[in-house]
């Protein structure tokens, strides 16, 4: 799967939890999930489970600690496809 496709799917999955809609208009690999998109940190587990379901992968809880940006999520997921 192309990185572009993973990126688009990641953004689509994140969208329901995004509180800063404006940040979505310029979202990129460097966009912070918590600081820029304002996703509630308590929702990160929901996001991870949604990634797992959508991409049919398993993500270890320890790996989640390394995910800060959209790019981190894309790279983590791409490495498991």
């Amino acid at each position: 799967m192309e990185e572009t496709e993973v990126f688009e799917r990641v953004v689509k999955i994140l969208t329901p939890w995004v509180k800063n809609d404006e940040a979505l208009t310029s979202v990129g690999m460097e966009t912070s999930i918590l600081d820029d998109l304002k996703v509630n940190s308590a929702r990160l587990v929901d996001v991870v489970i949604a990634f797992e379901d959508d991409f049919d992968i398993e993500i270890a809880d320890e790996d989640v600690d390394q995910v800060n940006t959209v790019g981190d999520a894309v790279n983590l997921i791409s490495g498991k496809l």
Partner: protein, 151 residues
């Protein structure tokens, strides 16, 4: 790590009178909890909700479901994974809920809450929770979540 008994879990639920809404935990394991609570007829909130027509506020029913299905079950699950010292440093906070009401609870009535774990990851617990009266009728049900965070 410890496999806490029902009594040990109840003793660790931080909410206390007049904001404790669990009298007894009847069943408890890594997948579910069954707990009950009888609303005292003289609970203070009945004076205002509503004057002359006391019924238990919906927010109190949600809290009752959360104390069993999220806090108590969450404490049990955390204790399975974490040391007593780590457990002491955590407090459970409510994160989200989607609840539907289908009945009312009057002063003096007892409710039984059943919580079934949907997932428990990174100290976050989501449960499907249902509350019934002693006659078996459903009062409210929903999906509630909470997570352990540092005090």
């Amino acid at each position: 790590m410890a496999d806490l008994s029902k009594e040990e879990v109840l003793a660790r639920v931080p909410q206390q009178d007049p904001f404790r809404f669990i009298d007894e935990i009847h069943e408890l394991d890594a997948d579910h909890i069954v707990a009950s609570y009888r609303f005292p007829e003289d609970a203070d909130f009945y004076r205002g909700h509503f004057p002359g027509n006391p019924i238990t506020p919906g927010v109190i029913l949600v809290e009752t479901m959360a104390q069993a299905g999220v806090v108590a079950l969450g404490l049990y699950l955390c204790a399975l994974e974490r040391s007593p010292e780590e457990l002491e440093k955590l407090v459970t906070v409510f994160t989200d809920a989607n609840v539907e009401f289908s009945g009312t609870v009057l002063p003096g009535q007892r409710v039984t809450t059943v919580g079934k774990k949907t997932f428990f990851r990174r100290l976050k617990l989501r449960s499907e929770v249902e509350m019934r009266l002693d006659d078996g009728s459903v009062v409210c049900s929903g999906v509630l979540s909470g997570m352990g965070v540092p005090r």
